[in-house]
Symmetry: C2
Subunit: 328 residues, 2 copies
């Protein structure tokens, strides 16, 4: 989409009612047939635009596609999303983001893909990424904090996405599964994969990769019964461009606080209140080790606290948590 | 150097005495003039080879240049150096190594450069890298350990380089300046810069970059009085290809033990005995913070232990340490 098409979209979105072709001609200094051409492009991109003789054009619905132009209509951040790359198709947005970051892309750069051929979750697992329904994006960060604090960004992202999901769908019940997933009714709604390049002292850059199941209606194969979407949980579609702008806003709010803080203590109550693990019997796998206990809290530095059967309190920095099926 | 040239070098090195041109012709199935051509190439590469009519060829001295062919003569490792890239000139071997690792280069891959145009030390500082005298190389690792253990590799490398320096120059007095330098007489002999790409759970890869001042005789500018070399400390030149093979051997020994261990506890006595900080008043800078105290030890996980003036023991994971000039 070029700047003129984007400008016309912005005007249509701001006006809410009808906007005459003549006023668009005047404002952008173009002919009526040029206006018509740009309207055609917006329709091709998926926007529903009504044209009524004598009244003009009215934006009935956005495309929902999280392009730079559409997302920018809703962006309320300082840095996050100020550089924005939209791809119809990508291997993985985290891979693109790592490459851009290595070349010097600034903090706040966002890479979105409509679909990913090799989207990844934690531990190298595939993140199934069909087109047209969901959000897959990565955010480049350059936090000036000691590298041992970087893993906290995963929980920070989870908390901010949960806030943004509730902004968009106040009815959705969403809980955080430590350290990187958001669940609804026990099914996965969203996942976060943070990656970094660092030396012993500091992170060179961090890439926060986020996948949110937004409007997908069917999950088949091994995802059946394990994944869900906002649409399935609430019965209505959510505009992806609005949601993406909302996540960026909520993330930036928390991120700026976190940079000034020592740890995650400032959102610890929220992380604990909305944890799906707390009070449950949990097994955490890390490498070949299995740790088991009752989840009792989230430590200020982001570790999961487990009360083991022998009465010891375990403080777990990373791992794959699941609710235990064994009862003793 | 091609495989035949390399094979002839290997035979000359193994024979120690004279090797007739005829025996080389037979062994490699080539003509006398072809043998002569390969000898010429070895001489061009810097090897000193004597040719005596009636006796044959004798290797008087290696080039010392740490090429794949020369280093392989001395390599006694399983993985380290089994894939080996030698560059006459590189921006930085860590940068090359990161790119190769991202493309899937196996554990043990070594990248050597004769000179670096943008060699880097910690905190983004330049590592001055003139040609023909020193060692600049990077080793790719893929340790299957939790990512919080990765910073320990810096000290592990420092300990193994110290061992290899003593193998090559038993008279040198070398101490470890936590966490990543080796000093002799208070001057820098060697630096380590470990970098990694990771997610919250595990490192995708680690690049251990190592610079050793071997035969450099003059340090000017701001390095004057701050840097030294094996040559300056011992009065004699050291063969760089032998030293590099030695570092790889010593490193692999310790690395394989470390993979099986929980931490650096198994070399803690060595790390403490040869620390240049222990018992000294030390200031550690990390980000904008300054921590000061008497260095009392190295913790099993690699942290520096400082006894602060208020009697508290500080455990410092990373930072830039220096001996304090203030006496109170």
């Amino acid at each position: 989409m070029n700047a003129l098409t984007s400008g016309i979209l912005s005007r249509l979105h701001a006006s809410r009612g009808y906007l005459s072709g003549e006023s668009l001609c005047r404002e952008f200094g173009i002919t009526r047939s040029a206006v018509w051409k740009h309207i055609g492009r917006l329709r091709d991109a998926g926007c529903r635009i009504e044209a009524v003789t004598g009244s003009g054009y009215r934006l009935e619905a956005l495309s929902g596609t999280p392009t730079a132009e559409e997302v920018s209509l809703f962006l309320e951040t300082r840095d996050a999303g100020s550089v924005f790359h939209y791809h119809k198709q990508a291997e993985s947005t985290n891979l693109l983001a790592r490459n851009l970051a290595a070349e010097g892309a600034p903090e706040g750069t966002v890479i979105v893909a409509e679909t990913q051929s090799a989207g990844r979750g934690r531990l190298g697992r595939l993140w199934v990424s069909p087109a047209g329904a969901n959000l897959y994006f990565s955010l480049i960060l350059r936090p000036k904090v000691p590298s041992f604090r970087i893993p906290q960004i995963t929980l920070l992202a989870a908390a901010s996405i949960r806030r943004a999901l509730l902004d968009a769908c106040p009815a959705v019940v969403a809980g955080i599964k430590w350290p990187n997933d958001i669940l609804s009714g026990g099914r996965k709604l969203c996942g976060v994969l943070c990656e970094m390049q660092s030396d012993t002292d500091r992170a060179h850059f961090v890439v926060a990769g986020i996948g949110i199941n937004v409007n997908q209606e069917v999950f088949s194969g091994e995802l059946q019964g394990k994944a869900t979407s906002l649409r399935l949980e609430t019965g209505s579609s959510v505009c992806r461009s609005v949601l993406l702008a909302g996540v960026l806003k909520r993330f930036e709010e928390l991120y700026l606080q976190w940079l000034q803080a020592d740890d995650l203590g400032f959102i610890r109550p929220e992380l604990e209140r909305h944890s799906v693990l707390l009070g449950q019997r949990v097994v955490v796998e890390r490498f070949s080790q299995q740790l088991e206990g009752i989840a009792t809290g989230i430590a200020p530095a982001g570790e999961l606290l487990l009360l083991a059967a022998d009465g010891n309190e375990l403080k777990i920095g990373s791992g794959e948590a699941s609710l235990s099926n064994t009862y003793h």
